[in-house]
């Protein structure tokens, strides 16, 4: 019982740290499933470990006979349950680089080039990146109306969905001009990259012969 309590306490600490990291670095409410994993994950992990550790301290043969799976869980468990938070971002980055050369484009110094040269390259990069982006995330405007036309902001609107500018006073509903319709991600499908080192977002290319 003591083990379980200790584990839950440690888990709470870890979840707290994750909460801080997620909402400070990642931006709030961006991904509900991720938040659930980062905050809930430590508790699940802790309880699992609390169950496994005592079993491990028992005589080896008995443990193996009772729970042969637990040994492997203990080894691969933490990695499998809590992937590095940056993984999805790295995968998206790798896709945009592979398909559209985005990292090359953003890291190259463009000062020495003419607008024409930059324009020429951008056309290809834009086409390819746009295609890759469409494949990875589904985007739709937050507000359905047309930009530069009148729009009503209802009572009880979500401030993360709508940002008010200009002469802001009184109480909703507000009437104003839609200047930017916003973007909402309605689907994410960033390709898995099985068996590859996630931090390599573009391998070096060596031509032989």
């Amino acid at each position: 019982m003591k083990t379980v309590l200790t584990a839950v306490l440690l888990a709470a600490l870890l979840a707290g740290a994750n909460y801080w990291a997620l909402f400070t670095i990642g931006g709030a409410s961006s991904c509900m499933p991720c938040a659930a994993i980062f905050l809930g994950g430590p508790f699940v992990l802790a309880l699992a470990l609390a169950g496994i550790l005592p079993a491990l301290s028992r005589p080896r043969a008995a443990a193996a006979a009772e729970e042969p799976v637990a040994l492997t869980d203990e080894v691969s468990g933490p990695a499998a349950l809590a992937p590095p938070p940056a993984d999805a971002a790295l995968r998206l980055l790798a896709t945009l680089q592979e398909d559209g050369r985005l990292i090359d484009f953003l890291t190259e110094s463009i000062q020495g080039y003419s607008d024409e040269q930059i324009g020429a390259a951008t056309r290809g990069i834009h086409d390819a990146c746009a295609k890759a982006l469409r494949a990875c995330v589904t985007l739709e405007p937050v507000l359905p109306g047309r930009e530069d036309e009148a729009v009503t902001v209802p009572k009880g609107f979500d401030p993360s969905e709508i940002r008010l500018t200009g002469d802001v006073r009184g109480e909703p509903p507000f009437t104003g001009i839609l200047r930017h319709a916003g973007w909402r991600v309605t689907g994410v499908s960033i390709p898995e990259r099985t068996g590859l080192e996630p931090r390599i977002v573009a391998p070096a290319e060596v031509e032989l012969g």
């Binding site: 040269q117 930059i118 390259a121 056309r123 390709p191 990259r193 068996g195 590859l196 031509e207």
Partner: protein
């Protein structure tokens, strides 16, 4: 598998494979059957699996440590070979380790398609495969994708495998062998242009009866990435209803969209070189892609006057290394429309002598790039089917998506005929063959209209004439018809009069011929002389008679078209008690063992 739940059509294409299916337990409108196309998960990059409707027919053979084994895993586990989009993309970078166009090697090209010969001219460290193995690998991938996604295994379904109409009996045999290697032995064969026609019939939802009439002859013009396949379908009448019959098929023409993309890219490269910019191989591959996109934009209806072509820099300096130019619509018009679809005379024939410099050693690539000339030659050979040429045309294959090509082809056909040739428009030319193959399966169950066809060729064995031996001169050969044109599946033909004496214990060889133009010969017809191209020699047939050695057995020949759609020729003893199947000997480079 007559009671199988799913009827499945497979397009084992030269450049792409597609699988389509119909659930026979669902509600079916026979005029517009609900055909689904299976999403095919495949590696698109190392470690990245994506589901796409097409599986590129490429197979890549990595060197040790080139790719991590775990990065090549598929949703259903590890595959023996890398096939699909990753193989295609990687093959463009490392051409010596990729198997491409395996299907074209199944047609008689003077090498044994069951021997490990691919990748053609690969370095010694590559574990080569046979064209049959490669085709089997694509089919295995389709099978695994199906089994992972569908409630019942693919082997238990009713399968239809599309093959080029130009495939002769030997190539069809090899295709069936590839299917057997993949564990799909029961698959029946259907000709690709016919499948495209079935897809069109289904697209019209019964409306085809108003679009064609009695006496119409439809040219199916199927131009894919690597091959051009031609077929004539005639519309007739029987008991008040319209009937369709496939009347003629063309030769195996290795000419398609890839030739056009390369031609365009070479033209642009030449212009860049004149301007002082040289492209390396890597940039040239990028150029081929960019030129293809530009081509498609410029050949569409309402095309712009010009389209940009951009090849990004190779190193991390993506902007600094970028090469940009543009292709004008007039240039595409002159290079591709006039180059591949010139307005030729109706009596023109493909030119044999000129070489275009765009060929790979090994496969018999067409030396005349003018598709219209190949079509003229084809129609000219079949004037008995359509004296004035076809009255309508159905386009299929990715190339014919281009509005400009369709218009030019229709103009040329109309000029030959002297009146307007109607253009029948099918949907999605990339998926039509697989969809049509499934529709055909349904029609075979009596649900939907069927195109009559039978064998696309008449078949002959060579018989040496009895004459005094002349040194240095082979005795002339006569051709004895064993199977007539248009033999239906499941039927047999016998030659009661002709007998051969075969020696037991020794291999018996027969030279073997096919003809797509001699439509009236019956079993037993002897052809003494034939014009160039009238009869084509196929791989010889051979068998080993077992039994008491040195006995001579009088036999007659019997031909049978199997339910699967392959041709089988047997030697049958006079009393009919013994039967030996003659097998194709594909080793013979020039048709001789």
């Amino acid at each position: 598998m007559a009671d199988a739940r799913y009827v499945v059509g497979i397009d084992l294409g030269t450049t792409n494979c597609v699988l389509a299916w119909i659930d026979t337990q669902a509600e079916i409108d026979v005029d517009a059957p609900p055909v689904e196309v299976l999403a095919l998960p495949q590696l698109v990059k190392p470690g990245v699996v994506e589901a796409r409707p097409q599986l590129p027919s490429f197979l890549y053979l990595p060197v040790a440590e080139e790719m991590k084994p775990e990065s090549l895993a598929l949703p259903w586990g590890m595959a023996e070979h890398v096939v699909g989009e990753l193989a295609r993309a990687r093959g463009a970078e490392v051409p010596t380790r990729v198997v491409a166009s395996a299907k074209s090697w199944l047609a008689s090209v003077g090498v044994d398609p069951s021997q490990p010969i691919l990748p053609w001219q690969a370095p010694d460290d590559v574990a080569k495969l046979s064209p049959v193995d490669a085709a089997a690998a694509y089919l295995r991938h389709l099978r695994a994708a199906w089994d992972a996604a569908m409630p019942a295994p693919l082997v238990e379904q009713e399968l239809y495998l599309a093959v080029p109409a130009s495939f002769d009996a030997a190539a069809r045999d090899l295709t069936v062998r590839a299917a057997e290697h993949a564990g799909l032995g029961g698959a029946r064969l259907i000709e690709e242009p016919q499948a495209a026609f079935y897809a069109w019939l289904a697209d019209t939802a019964g409306g085809w009866r108003d679009m064609v009439g009695v006496g119409d002859v439809v040219l199916v013009c199927d131009i894919g990435g690597g091959t051009t396949d031609l077929t004539l379908v005639a519309v007739g009448e029987e008991r008040g209803g319209l009937v369709l019959a496939r009347r003629a098929v063309g030769d195996h023409i290795l000419l398609g969209g890839d030739n056009m993309d390369l031609t365009m890219a070479h033209a642009v490269r030449a212009r860049l070189t004149d301007g002082g910019t040289t492209l390396d191989d890597w940039q040239f591959r990028g150029l081929v892609h960019a030129a293809r996109d530009a081509k498609e934009a410029l050949l569409a209806a309402n095309a712009p006057a010009e389209a940009p072509v951009v090849v990004l820099g190779r190193s991390r300096k993506v902007i600094g290394g970028t090469v940009r130019t543009q292709i004008a619509r007039d240039e595409v018009e002159a290079t591709l429309v006039d180059g591949f679809f010139p307005a030729v005379d109706r009596d023109d024939k493909p030119r044999a002598a000129r070489r275009t410099g765009l060929q790979e050693i090994g496969l018999p690539y067409a030396s005349d790039p003018a598709i219209t000339r190949h079509v003229a030659g084809f129609i000219g050979r079949h004037r008995d089917v359509a004296p004035d040429g076809p009255s309508a045309v159905l386009f299929n294959g990715g190339v014919m998506r281009a509005d400009r090509f369709r218009r030019r082809m229709a103009e040329v056909l109309s000029a030959w005929r002297g009146s307007q040739v109607r253009v029948l428009t099918g949907s999605d030319p990339d998926l039509a063959v697989a969809r049509g193959a499934a529709t055909y399966g349904l029609a075979r169950r009596g649900r939907g209209v069927r195109i009559r066809g039978g064998t696309a060729r008449a078949y002959y064995v060579g018989v040496e004439t009895a004459m005094p031996a002349v040194p240095g001169m082979a005795p002339p050969v006569k051709a004895l018809c064993v199977a007539p044109f248009g033999m239906e599946e499941g039927s047999a033909a016998t030659l009661p009069d002709a007998e051969f004496g075969l020696v037991v214990g020794e291999p018996a060889h027969f030279r073997f011929f096919g003809s797509s133009v001699r439509r009236t010969d019956t079993p037993g017809t002897v052809v003494e002389r034939w014009a160039e191209g009238e009869l084509e020699e196929l791989p010889p047939l051979e068998t080993m008679l077992t039994g008491d050695a040195d006995r001579t057995v009088p036999v007659r020949l019997e031909a049978e078209v199997t339910e699967v759609g392959t041709l089988a020729v047997y030697c049958v003893s006079r009393d009919g008690t013994e039967r030996w199947k003659l097998e194709f000997n594909v080793r013979g480079a020039d048709g001789r063992p």
